[in-house]
């Protein structure tokens, strides 16, 4: 552990994790919003929206995240000219957020869709019977129940998102995996210690999160 007595190394370790947390937090919120929209699109009466949703899910679920982040930089930023910040690091950070959100939204959409399928048909029929429109049915009746049913899968998607944010390092952001790489290359003898600290931090954050979501799922499950 003496590797981390050096304040530069400690600083590198902390900066790396700060980036991971920022990426995870912002991407989680955006992915949730986009995911709900996509799920709504996929069950909507308009065919174009259904195809768009299905297309999005198929593309993003079947492509490695590494390639998606790559495209964020080279297609979105380089070719299409979408600049999200003037600072190099912040720009890479926001490009990473875009990639992570788009990728995770596909999984959120599928999770919510399967949750919608667990809501008994009678609920939607009753909603129609009292005259609610499609949007109202979703918003007031179906999605709240579906949401409560899919808390556990959403939890595992969030955990996977946190781990996936390490992949944003491919476009140069100095997050945990890049920092660990650099620390190991410079301090080859402390490989084990460095890995244990980095992996241990992830485990210390993500394992309790998993249990929290399991508990939440039980608490909030719709009792039928």
């Amino acid at each position: 552990m003496s590797v981390f007595r050096d304040s530069d190394n400690l600083h590198a370790y902390l900066t790396g994790f700060l980036w991971i947390l920022r990426l995870t937090g912002v991407s989680a919120v955006i992915a949730l919003v986009i995911g709900v929209l996509l799920a709504a699109m996929r069950v909507s009466p308009i065919p174009v929206l259904r195809w768009f949703g299905a297309g999005w899910v198929n593309v993003f679920r079947n492509t490695p995240l590494t390639l998606i982040i790559f495209f964020c930089y080279f297609a979105l930023y380089a070719t299409l000219g979408v600049t999200l910040s003037d600072d190099l690091n912040l720009n890479n950070y926001w490009l990473g957020v875009v990639g992570l959100s788009a990728y995770t939204a596909a999984f959120v959409c599928e999770a919510i869709r399967s949750g919608v399928n667990t809501v008994p048909a009678g609920q939607a029929e009753a909603a129609r019977a009292i005259g609610l429109t499609f949007a109202q049915t979703l918003r007031i009746v179906v999605l709240p129940q579906a949401g409560r049913a899919v808390i556990a899968p959403l939890g595992s998607i969030l955990i996977a998102l946190c781990k996936n944010s390490t992949i944003v390092g491919t476009i140069g952001l100095l997050e945990s995996s890049n920092q660990m790489k650099q620390l190991i290359n410079d301090n080859g003898n402390a490989v084990i210690a460095i890995f244990i600290v980095f992996a241990g931090t992830f485990a210390a954050v993500l394992v309790p999160t998993g249990y929290l979501f399991g508990w939440l799922a039980n608490r909030l499950a719709v009792k039928r």
């Binding site: 679920r61 079947n62 590494t66 299409l80 190991i184 084990i192 992996a199 394992v207």
Partner: protein, 290 residues
Amino acid sequence: MSIVLYDYPGPRARRRNAILTVVFGLALVGLLWWIYRKFDEKGQLAGILWKPFTESATWTDFILPGLRQTLLAAATGMVLSLAFGLVFSAGRLSEHWWVRVPSGVVVEFFRAVPLLLMIFFIFYGVPFLTHRPMPAFWSVVIGLTLYNGSVLAEAFRAGIRAVPIGQSEAAYAIGLRKNQLMRYILIPQAARSMLPVIVSQLVVLLKDTALGYIVALPELLQQGVNVLSANKGNVVAAAIVVAAIYILINSTLTWFAGWLDRWTQRRGLRPGRVAGAPRPGPAAVLEPQG
């Protein structure tokens, strides 16, 4: 279920739907047109960048060897993950706490550590201990095994617990022991419903082989994008082609998983719902790592 969400469209709804279709359709076409224009401006549609893909040498020298490595790593990883998953799910279901707790710790730990860090550590850390080289291929495969094995262990555990409890009760009633219960009653029933999950994890495995870039494994992404573009300078074009290949393979696998799901249901091989039992929950494992 989705058809229940909205009434059969009457004339007003049909008109509204048509308007929305046209508006959204136009917006989509406009977006695609803008993307095409921008790509053209930056010269990404120039023939010289795309021509290598019409030459067979590009495919036989870069893309196909890379694809072979990817498929090999995924297949090896899948076989080993299955073994790992079986062992550790049995461990977690054991009645002896000294088997259950360590298995639980191992599975939870490997599900929480990012795969990228694990692959990198195996590649540099294990040789540090054993003073023997660790090939990139095995670093990736072992990392994949540890992670996917843990996910499969959880899936198997969930699958076994999803078998109606009446089966276990009947087995104990006729005098079967725990071991025999697992072997003859639970695992066969759980296994068939686990097939779709296993195939979808194969999709995850295929995508995760792309993480081999951190140890320069010559798989599809490394060969097809990095090395090919070092030769021909067509980074974006190569990435698009490689992405298309991934999407093609993974969509096929996902479709196959869905077909398996329906097949096991049709054949009645899945445990049915006993009256009064809770409705089956949403898809069990959605672990979008990598």
